[in-house]
């Protein structure tokens, strides 16, 4: 996916969200760190372009909720969760870059529920690459692709990586040329 496609995809997701949730007052977009956060922000910006009311924006760090923490292994940086509003009775749309096994979303759900009682939780992802290990699905998916398990999908965003694109990489080949935009 190149920058243009990415932008169009996000725009489409934003529209879908607005369609399904006319009452944006009681809606919040919560990005899952790290790349879910700029995506959520862009979605809010896209929505604000056409709507008067805008959903709230939050960020979720799921490091402390992962189900695969083991001792004696490198510890990922804890960046902190920032949800500066009550989520009771709110429709929360979790936003992430890639949906794969579903474990990140499971951790995000656990954490979100420790913050309050949302009326509804939905999931928006830029790319759904299959290989679910838990019964989790995306409500909004920018692009659904089939991948081999060993391959990796890398989302790069201007805010963090300096450019907008999605790469599908072969396994264990650091010097491999990334294939651009898989159909």
């Amino acid at each position: 996916m190149d920058a243009g496609r990415l932008a169009r995809t996000l725009s489409r997701i934003a529209h879908e969200i607005v369609e399904r949730h006319p009452d944006l007052q009681r809606t919040a977009l919560v990005g899952v760190r790290t790349r879910g956060v700029p995506i959520a922000r862009r979605l809010v910006q896209a929505i604000s372009a056409s709507e008067k009311r805008v959903p709230k924006l939050g960020a979720l760090d799921i490091t402390l909720y992962r189900d695969d923490l083991t001792t004696m292994a490198p510890n990922p940086v804890v960046r902190g969760t920032d949800i500066p509003f009550s989520i009771d009775g709110v429709t929360v749309i979790l936003v992430d870059d890639v949906l794969f096994t579903g474990r990140t979303v499971r951790a995000a759900l656990d954490e979100l529920i420790d913050f309050g009682r949302p009326s509804r939780i939905e999931l928006a992802v830029l790319v759904d690459r299959g290989h679910r290990e838990l019964p989790i699905r995306a409500d909004y998916a920018g692009k659904t692709i089939t991948t081999a398990r060993g391959e990796s999908v890398q989302v790069q965003l201007q805010e963090q990586d300096g450019c907008d694109r999605v790469l599908l990489l072969e396994p264990e080949a650091p010097a491999a040329k990334p294939k651009r935009g898989r159909k």
Partner: protein, 311 residues
């Protein structure tokens, strides 16, 4: 690459500046958990932490206990005044008995310098030093540093005065290591009888508190124990207060936004005047909150880790 590639936290001295910063940054990020409606995360679920306190300490121990519970670890506290130690059980036997219950971590406070190192050599769990003799008290220095950084935005280049009984103070040593490693300018002050030999290698020493307070960004007052008088270290608490006590006048010599820290509990009227202790410069409450956050960070960095996870 690991943020904190150590099994134990035995002191500040062995840590690299980047490792100290990763503890501070992690604590900063974890603070918000204490503001949530549900102050719990499942990170250390199923891990057991033993708090082995050979010296009485409500403050530090409860701080660790809260940190352990917030992270969902199982916590077991042993205050040895009431335990088998009074029956003459050695430290090693106590530790081995505890080890048989398979804890993941032992947090120890002990009157003998080197007790945590001793445990680390003979036991398998991760060991955290909650204060050993006159040697180190790493989590105290870390929470002091976090408090300073919050108030001042940085540690590098800060002028920090550490005043009091340097000879017997583990807090002074840990803070001295941490502040110099992170680039602060430390000045030490105390009566000559309470300045240990060789400490001038890390920071300049003065016996005049007015000089130490001059232009300071932060003043760290150390507790003076009354027993030091009977040990012949100084003649009376009156003279100590006059010559080395932090009075309002001395605080005025420091910068306008000076911060006064004290590891507690305070001897009002001896090392610190009551007006100063209760005044606007004091950051004691910040220190308490930061204490829990630092201890959560330490527990997470030592016991939490991860393998490759897919989203």
């Amino acid at each position: 690459m690991s943020l904190f590639p150590h099994r134990h936290l035995l002191g500040i001295e062995p840590l690299a500046p980047a490792e100290i910063l990763s503890i501070l940054d992690t604590a900063e990020s974890m603070k918000e958990i204490l503001d949530r409606p549900i102050k719990k995360v499942p990170t250390l679920r199923g891990k057991t932490v033993v708090n082995l306190f050979y010296e009485a300490s409500t403050r530090t121990r409860s701080s660790f206990e809260v940190a352990e519970r917030v992270l969902s670890a199982d916590s077991l506290s042993i205050a040895t005044a009431t335990s088998s130690t009074t029956k003459g059980e050695t430290l090693l036997d106590t530790a081995w008995n505890l080890e048989a219950m398979k804890p993941d971590m032992i947090i120890i406070r002990h009157a003998s310098s080197g007790a945590p190192h001793f445990l680390a050599q003979h036991c398998r769990p991760s060991i955290v030093n909650a204060g050993d003799g006159a040697h180190e008290h790493p989590t105290q220095a870390l929470l002091d540093a976090l408090t300073l950084r919050q108030r001042k935005g940085r540690l590098q280049g800060l002028r920090v005065a550490i005043v009091g009984d340097l000879l017997h103070s583990r807090v002074a040593r840990s803070n001295l290591w941490l502040l110099t490693k992170l680039g602060a300018d430390v000045i030490l002050c105390g009566p000559p009888t309470l300045v240990p030999p060789g400490i001038e290698a890390l920071a300049p020493v003065t016996h005049r508190i007015d000089e130490a307070c001059e232009g300071a960004d932060a003043i760290m007052m150390l507790r003076v124990q009354r027993e030091r008088m009977s040990g012949g270290y100084f003649p009376s608490s009156r003279e100590y207060h006059v010559r080395f006590g932090l009075t309002e006048a001395r605080v005025q010599r420091a910068k306008k936004d000076v911060v006064v820290l004290h590891p507690g509990p305070m001897n009002r009227g001896v090392e610190i005047a009551t007006e100063v202790a209760d005044g606007p410069y004091s950051v004691i409450l910040d220190q308490v909150t930061n204490g829990v956050a630092i201890r959560m960070a330490v527990l997470y960095l030592l016991l939490g880790g991860q393998s490759e996870v897919q989203a």
